[in-house]
């Protein structure tokens, strides 16, 4: 319903309401904000959650974030915005709680009004700026948005601070000399006293009861920070409730303090001026020594003694009070004019300024209350909600490329609903490669969605999520897993080993890697080291190695490498009498006799002796010689040990020659079952030769 306001009334109200309407002076707001900011969790969030190492001291556009916040608190009073900085907690509804009901909007609704103008600094607008600070592509855009986030928070806490100014919660345009002027004068001329107010004292409760954010939202301003100003628990008849921590700052201030033009107005005929507390039953009279012109004199005050907060000067006793009492004047027709002097306002400030600081900190803490975490690896990412409230919304990973351009990671967006302490596991994404990240594995995880009762919250968290792939080695010839082999991930640009692992029973090795920059090194499946070159090809040097791409990783996070296992082969001649190889690569060995039956009770028994004086493998491509064994060697090396990875692609081809100086003795005879010779030996031949044999590559 639109209320009718006559032009005369409206203009009169404007003049009185706004003629010199002001709030805490802007420098007072600045100092309250300067203290409230560092007391909040914001510095910790900046440093430990967002990777802003300098925290509040971080400079953006030549000024620290601390400056931007306090500057926002100053600027909120610019032009006519201050007309929206009032909230009467006893108004019929919040839509009538602004200055004189119709001059301005309730500060609570103003703080959540996305239509403030251009620019708008409502809670949601500040949230958007925070989101921009986390996600905008260009670094200057992000920094600018971060500065604006803190400016916006400064503007938001300005509204909180105004709720600790009596005139702002008692519908009082407060012309001229007032509480705020006095506070500012003390700020300038008596900094120790002012700093004492900022610091608070043990007998002045600081932070609001943490349950404030759990109170049911008011549909007119659903963001819970509204409850820092008005909890809707003070009804005008229960001032004691304002002494609990679970109370809005406007309610506390309204019920316990006067403003310049709202003194003992419990019976005022004008409902806009009528406030039930404090009232004349809330006070006792008491004399205080005060200084006037350097002289100590006594002044009588009304001291708050009941109905909520107690123990401070609420107002001076009017000069005509004594006459009033002596002659029994009708006080409804006789104004005794209690006043709010400097002593009164100092007592007010000692109680209100600490609350302005504490409630401001609470708002900042609420803004940064969301806590998320991520860990694991790209193939099995874990995202957790470590807030105290449930979250339901979208998580997106961003990364910075080498030019500091922030980009969303393709495919790394998940919509999740997580209870406090709950996490989602086995999330997968493909690490970005084009353009490559500035730092592999470093991401900004950004949440946007419902956080508790807040519908469009934003949370940021810098996280490290290692990129892993599973290198699976399969024997090419029969597809059996190659178990127990060393596999390493090598950075193709630096040659640095990123990780190494032994294949499991399935031939799998989990490796940290950097997509597009990582080669696989397989040092021991064959007798020579190999870098994978893609497919079933391999190379011996890193320069020819294949940089594994993210697209090559399958749905299980695996890259399968079909790995040929190779050995050497060369022709051996057969000795005609024994039917055994004429020579073998066995240094100086007499083999055990071999017997096979030829008829009943008769066996053919063969005696073999082999020897190598010197065996050498010579590669054809480069002439490199490798001694395989000599006369006293315990064994001979396989020429395959001199193969190189490229030889894997030369199956069946001759890659070198075996040059050897060998000898052998071959003896065959018939023997009985006890091994005794039957007759003369069938043959007894000795051989000695220097021969050259072609060595080819074969796959096992």
């Amino acid at each position: 319903m639109i209320r009718y306001v006559s032009p005369t009334v409206l203009i009169s109200q404007l003049v009185f309401a706004a003629g010199t309407t002001s709030a805490y002076e802007i420098e007072t707001h600045r100092l309250v904000s300067e203290v409230a900011g560092p007391r909040s969790q914001a510095d910790d969030v900046l440093k430990n959650h967002l990777g802003v190492n300098e925290g509040f001291a971080k400079v953006v556009q030549s000024f620290s974030l601390s400056f931007w916040m306090s500057d926002g608190a100053k600027r909120e009073d610019n032009f006519l915005r201050l007309l929206n900085h009032f909230h009467n907690p006893l108004a019929v509804g919040w839509s009538q709680a602004g200055l004189l009901e119709s001059i301005g909007q309730s500060s609570i609704m103003w703080g959540q009004n996305t239509g403030q103008g251009i620019p708008s600094w409502s809670w949601r607008d500040v949230r958007q700026r925070y989101f921009d600070a986390l996600t905008k592509p260009q670094s200057p855009e992000r920094e600018s948005s971060l500065a604006k986030t803190f400016e916006g928070l400064g503007r938001q806490i300005h509204l909180i601070q105004d709720a600790a100014s009596p005139a702002h919660v008692r519908n009082d345009p407060h012309l001229f000399y007032n509480y705020e002027n006095l506070v500012d004068r003390v700020r300038v001329d008596d900094p120790p006293t002012f700093d004492g107010w900022l610091a608070g004292s043990p007998d002045v409760p600081g932070a609001p009861d943490p349950r404030w954010s759990s109170l049911d939202p008011n549909p007119l301003a659903i963001i819970a920070v509204a409850r820092l100003i008005d909890s809707d628990r003070y009804s005008g008849g229960n001032p004691a409730v304002t002494m609990t921590g679970l109370i809005g700052l406007a309610e506390y201030t309204n019920a316990n303090f006067f403003s310049e033009d709202r003194v003992f107005t419990e019976n005022d005929v004008d409902p806009q001026k009528r406030f039930p507390f404090p009232n004349r039953a809330s006070v006792v009279e008491q004399d205080f020594d005060i200084q006037v012109g350097g002289t100590t004199v006594k002044r009588r005050y009304f001291v708050k003694a009941a109905d909520g907060a107690t123990g401070y000067r609420l107002a001076t006793v009017g000069l005509l009070r004594e006459y009033h009492q002596r002659f029994g004047l009708d006080w409804t027709r006789f104004r005794e004019s209690p006043a709010l002097d400097e002593g009164v306002y100092r007592d007010y400030a000692a109680r209100l300024i600490p609350r302005a600081v504490a409630y401001s900190s609470a708002l900042i803490d609420y803004f940064f209350r969301g806590r998320i975490a991520a860990s694991g690896e790209d193939t099995a990412t874990i995202i957790g909600n470590i807030s105290e409230e449930p979250i339901n919304g979208t998580f997106t990973l961003y990364y910075d490329d080498a030019n500091d351009v922030r980009r969303p990671v393709p495919g790394a967006t998940w919509t999740l609903a997580l209870a406090p302490g709950e996490s989602a596991e086995q999330l997968r994404f493909t690490p970005p490669t084009s353009p490559a990240p500035k730092e592999a594995g470093r991401y900004m995880l950004v949440f946007r969605g419902a956080l508790g009762s807040e519908p469009d919250a934003v949370i940021g968290r810098q996280v490290m999520i290692s990129s892993t792939l599973i290198a699976r080695l399969i024997k090419r010839k029969d597809a059996t897993p190659l178990r127990g082999f060393d596999v390493r991930a090598i950075d193709v640009q630096t040659g640095q080993t990123l990780s190494a692992h032994i294949t499991d029973d399935e031939g799998r090795a989990r490796l940290d890697w950097n997509p597009g920059r990582t080669a696989l090194f397989i040092p021991s499946v064959n007798q020579f080291p190999m870098y994978w070159a893609g497919g079933s090809t391999f190379v011996s040097g890193l320069e020819g190695a294949h940089a594994v791409q993210a697209a090559e990783v399958d749905a299980q996070g695996q890259v399968t490498v079909l790995t040929p296992i190779v050995s050497s082969d060369w022709p051996e001649r057969i000795e005609p009498c024994t039917g055994q190889p004429m020579f073998q690569q066995i240094p100086n060995s007499t083999l055990p006799a071999q017997s096979s039956p030829v008829s009943e009770g008769v066996f053919l028994t063969i005696f073999l002796t082999y020897g190598v004086n010197l065996a050498t493998f010579v590669r054809d491509d480069n002439g490199r010689e490798t001694v395989l064994c000599g006369l006293t060697s315990p064994s001979c090396h396989d020429p395959a040990g001199s193969f190189i990875a490229e030889d894997v692609g030369r199956l069946g081809q001759v890659v070198g020659h075996l040059v050897r100086d060998v000898f052998s003795r071959h003896t065959a005879m018939l023997t009985d079952p006890d091994g005794r010779p039957i007759g003369d030996a069938l043959c007894s031949n000795e051989y000695a030769e220097v021969e050259t044999l072609p060595v080819s590559v074969v796959e096992r």
Partner: protein, 195 residues
């Protein structure tokens, strides 16, 4: 229009009354009643008593601007000077204060030297009520040396250049804030080449 005429008349009368009332309230103590400068002082190390040479002293004047529907406290003028070899400064505010509009406040002062706690919140002296201490003969300001980088970092967060355009109006202050930042390992605040 005829309907609004009485309201406008009332409005004009009230505005006149508002202005008259402002002249007679205690608030005037906050405003300059006449030029009060020049402002003088001497800045020394609170421990060694040695003069601090090159400390920056900023004087800043606010004014209340009264509009048709509101009043705002806003920046009026600012001056910065450096202390000389004796640690002495003089701010000649004659031009500013003689030309100051009504409802111009007494100036506020900031004194800063890298490595030291600044005035008006961290000095050893003067303490207590400090309104007007730089008028007339001035006063000796004793700045304490800050001990730890963390103490200096916290102190930096409380330093505020006050003016809307610090880079232009208080370049020496901004330069010293930058020196302080760098000396405790923070990144410089100013773009290269500035101020």
């Amino acid at each position: 229009m005829r309907r609004w005429a009485p309201a406008l008349a009332i409005w004009c009368v009230m505005l006149t009354a508002v202005g008259a009332a402002a002249q007679s309230t205690e608030l005037r103590e906050r405003y300059l009643d006449r030029p009060r400068g020049p402002y003088r002082g001497k800045v020394i190390d609170a421990e060694t008593r040695a003069p601090l040479v090159g400390a920056v002293v900023v004087a800043h004047w606010y004014r209340d601007r009264i509009g048709p529907f509101h009043s705002v406290m806003e920046h009026y003028a600012v001056r910065e000077v450096l202390t000389d070899t004796d640690g002495v400064f003089v701010i000649d505010a004659k031009q500013i204060e003689q030309g100051a509009p009504k409802r111009t406040y007494h100036p506020e002062f900031l004194i800063f030297m890298p490595g030291y706690g600044s005035y008006p919140r961290f000095q050893k002296a003067p303490t207590g009520f400090i309104g007007g201490v730089f008028e007339g003969a001035g006063v000796v300001v004793e700045l304490p040396r800050l001990q730890s980088p963390e103490e200096r970092r916290k102190h930096l967060l409380r330093l505020n250049p006050m003016t809307p355009d610090p880079l232009t109006e208080v370049p020496e202050l901004m330069k010293r804030i930058d020196e302080e930042r760098v000396s405790i390992g923070l990144t410089p605040a100013l773009p290269k080449g500035k101020p």
